[in-house]
Structure formats: structure tokens, C-alpha cells
Subunit: 268 residues, 2 copies
């Protein structure tokens, strides 16, 4: 059924209903254009307290858009008429035990616990839209691949069992577009904000720009420089590497679609 | 007398009085910290009309801070209690005829004409102060030399007899500081605003970064990139190259000190 519907005409609530009804179980990129999509991390209360402090200390990679209002509640206010049930409204979830994936499911009601806390974190879709609106080419969109992402040697600010290194996404640009991108992305601190680096990848510990650690390689044209942003894969990695007893995240690309317009995240 | 006074304790009006009294006839860098200093261009009305449109079309290199309120008036409001007489309140002026310097004097009352129009243009001192306040090193200040400036192949938007190419100033930085500099300088559009380029100098027609066309070379350390800003030498060059019948500018480094706090120029 889903394939016959013009998905990009649908509002967030309509798409979430399709997802809830099991009619859309794949990635959400390109859906509900103009609305914020979020990365998901769900943790038991004790680890959630560490994670909240970790996000506070690493805001560029872990910008919190929303949290569940109380421990054990699966309901989160994402800007619509009423809070949504996080357990059913993403296309696909990964369930981790001690850092290992134990299941990948479209519904987490059966594993829900009354000690869980929900974190929704900003993602780069929001600022990519603002860059495109300004006429800046986003190479991974042009080439219809995932954005290239890289592990770096930039240490996160550690909290309890959570530490690790920053993961970055990369978009190649001419210098003038990179300068404009700093201006545009600075308006969006809750979706990673300004780039963290540009130019020589080796200065942040990236050995081979042609071989991303996640996502796909993209063409870097003559006269372009790679520009690097803090990436939402960072918290996913940190949580997995900490081998916490229990954790739930979204499956890659299968984000939560909120009712928050991207423009609402602009601070200026 | 001047040398025994602690100049950096003096307010703009006090320094202008010393200048007016002939007690300070050299460059103004480091004086009246915290206050806007301006480049000066004075033109007859017909050429002033071209120049005003030129500034409108090339705002990054030619940001107008103030103009005389009427043709023939040497008085300009620069934020103090009353307008100042431009003819006496700069340390040194250059007088041009057909693009050639015919005199360099500390007072232009004897050559004043009732068809002249005064332009005061923003200068990089203002944003350098904001960068320093943020903890960013400015190499030319550290090395106590003039900022290096370069001719580029970036064409100005031409108006009437005024055309030419953009002149840029250069400050070397680590990428993270360059990103921060874009944020800080974007708040100051009336003092050249964000950089126009970073990285490979040859992409904007600079052949040898070690040999500036104006000012002094500075050290570019390992891992640093050169960052380029539109420079107030641009309008000076453009006016000179147009070989206009008559023109007055400040002598290099001998700026007008206004009563406008630098922070007032911040748009955010």
C-alpha cells in the first residue's frame, strides 16, 4: 500500500500513523520535509542520568530536542496536539544488551519497562534543509547516498561509563559556501550547530577521507574542502561502547518524525 | 608632549583634540580601544554619487559607517555629543589629483570645497577586538606588524568609473578558530563581516602568500589555514585607479577615531 502513496505530501501525524499501523518500516529520509527528525536513545533511569549529563557536556554531538516527561513514560511531546507513544511511532528499533544487538523490531511495547527514559536528539536533516534553501549543494543528497561519517581522535567529555570519541559527518564545499554554512548552521545549535573542522582530515584523526567509517563516500571536487560537523552517531557509539545492561535506539535512518518545523529550531 | 601621555587612557574626544592641536600626527592603532576607527574618502559630489552606489554594491569591502549630512559640509556625526570637523580631526591626510598624491597634510581646511562629500568606512580594528576578546590570536598583533593584505582576482561590482578588484587582509588560524571567527565577524557586517575565503590562496588569485601586496608578512604555523577578509584598502585603490580629478583620503593607519563603541556595530 505504502508505495502507491505520495509520501512526501503527508503530514508528520499521518506518517507516524502509517508507521504505527506497520505500513512503513524503512528509513525516513525525504519524508515530511520541513519537520524535525530525531535520533532515539532509551535507557534505564540510572544510565539515563549519566547520559543526560553526557549530553549536557557534549551538546554539539548530542543536542536534546525532547525527553520523556517522567521515568517510565513512553510518551513524549514532539510539538503536536498531544504527546506521542515512542514505542510504536518509529519504523524500526534496535535493542541492545551489554552493547550487543539482541533484536531489531518495529514495536517495543513488549520490552517496555517502568524505569526507562526517552531521549530524542537532533539530526543533520534539519540543517541540510536550511543549506539547500540557501542554494548550497549537499553532495550526499546530489549523489543520493548516505552522508559519509568518520571516527575522529577528538575525545568526548566523559561522564561515568560514557566517553569515547566524536564522530563527524562530512560535506565537501567551496570555501565561500563553507563560510556561509557556518553562518546558517550557527542558527541551529540543537541540530549540531556550526561545523567543528574543515580542511586537512588528518588533523582530527581521519586517515582516509575516501573510506568513511559509516555511510558512503562522496565526490570531493577540485577546489573544494571537506567540512566536518558533529554527528548523531556519536551518542549511539558511546552508549554501545559502554556495554550498558540495556538500551534501545532507532535503527539507522529510521528516525522519529516530529511535528516541530525545522525553522522553529533556529535561534536567530 | 604626546609621548609622555598614556594615550590608551584617553577618550576619543580627547585624542581628537590632541590631533586637532597638532600633538598627534601618526597612526592611530591601539588608541581609544573599544571605539570604532574609520577609513576616510572625500570626493566631489559627482564622483561621490558613483562612490555611494559603489559602496552599496560592494558592502563587504566598503561598509559605510557615516557620511556628511549635506554636500559641502565637513561635519560628520560620529556618535559623540556633536558632529566633528573632519578637516582637522585625523592625524594625516593624502590629497590626490587624477590619482596621484599631490600633498600629505595634517589639516585640509585650506583645500576644502563646497562640493565635497565625506565617507567614513568601517575597518578591521573593530572585529579584531571582538576576536581577541574571544581568545583568538591575531597573528599580526602578536607579531606587532601591519596585517598582510593582498590583491585578488575577485572583481568588484563596477559603477561608473569605479571598478577594480577586491583587496583582502589575511589572518592565519586553526580551522576551529576560523569557524569561530566566521560566527563572531558575522555579527559585524559594517566592519567587513565574515571572511570571504580561507585555504588555498591561489583560488582567489594570490600567487605568493609570503609576499603581501600591502602590510607585512606574518608567520603561518603548521596546521593553520590563511583566512581572508574583505579589506578597506579596496575603496582606496578603486578611487585612486579611477584617476578622479580630486580626492582626499586618510594617510595609511591614520584613521578617524569615532565615539561609537565597537560593540554598537554588532547586529546580534
Amino acid at each position: 500500500m505504502a508505495s502507491s502513496i505520495n509520501m512526501d505530501q503527508l503530514h508528520p501525524a499521518q506518517i507516524r500513523k502509517m508507521i504505527r499501523d506497520g505500513e512503513w518500516q524503512t528509513h525516513t529520509s525525504g519524508l515530511a520535509n520541513g519537520y524535525v527528525q530525531c535520533n532515539l536513545v532509551i535507557l534505564p533511569e540510572s544510565d539515563a542520568n549519566f547520559f543526560l549529563r553526557f549530553c549536557q557536556r557534549n551538546p554539539k554531538s548530542c543536542p536534546i530536542i525532547a525527553m520523556s516527561s517522567e521515568v517510565g513514560s513512553p510518551f513524549v511531546d514532539v510539538g503536536g496536539e498531544e504527546p506521542i507513544d515512542i514505542r510504536t511511532d518509529l519504523p524500526m528499533f534496535k535493542i541492545f544488551e551489554k552493547g550487543v544487538v539482541v533484536d531489531e523490531v518495529p514495536d517495543i511495547r513488549s520490552v517496555w519497562r517502568d524505569d526507562l527514559v526517552v531521549f530524542l536528539l537532533g539530526c543533520s536533516f534539519s540543517f541540510e534543509e536550511a543549506l539547500l534553501a540557501d542554494g548550497i549543494e549537499i553532495r550526499n543528497i546530489t549523489e543520493q547516498v548516505n552522508v559519509p561519517m568518520y571516527n575522529t581522535n577528538i575525545a568526548n567529555s566523559a561522564v561515568g561509563p560514557l566517553g569515547g570519541q566524536l564522530v563527524v559527518s562530512m560535506r565537501p564545499m567551496l570555501a565561500a559556501d563553507a563560510i556561509r554554512s557556518v553562518q546558517i548552521c550557527s542558527r541551529f545549535p540543537s541540530v549540531h550547530g556550526a561545523p567543528v573542522h574543515f580542511g586537512d582530515p588528518s588533523l582530527i584523526g581521519i586517515k582516509d577521507i575516501g573510506t568513511p567509517d559509516y555511510g558512503d563516500a562522496v565526490t570531493i571536487k577540485k577546489n573544494e574542502v571537506p567540512v566536518f560537523w558533529a554527528c548523531g552517531v556519536t551518542p549511539q557509539n558511546v552508549v554501545r561502547e559502554a556495554k550498558l545492561d540495556f538500551c534501545i535506539t532507532h535503527s539507522p535512518g529510521c528516525m522519529l518524525i516530529t511535528d516541530i518545523p525545522n525553522s522553529k529550531l533556529s535561534v536567530l
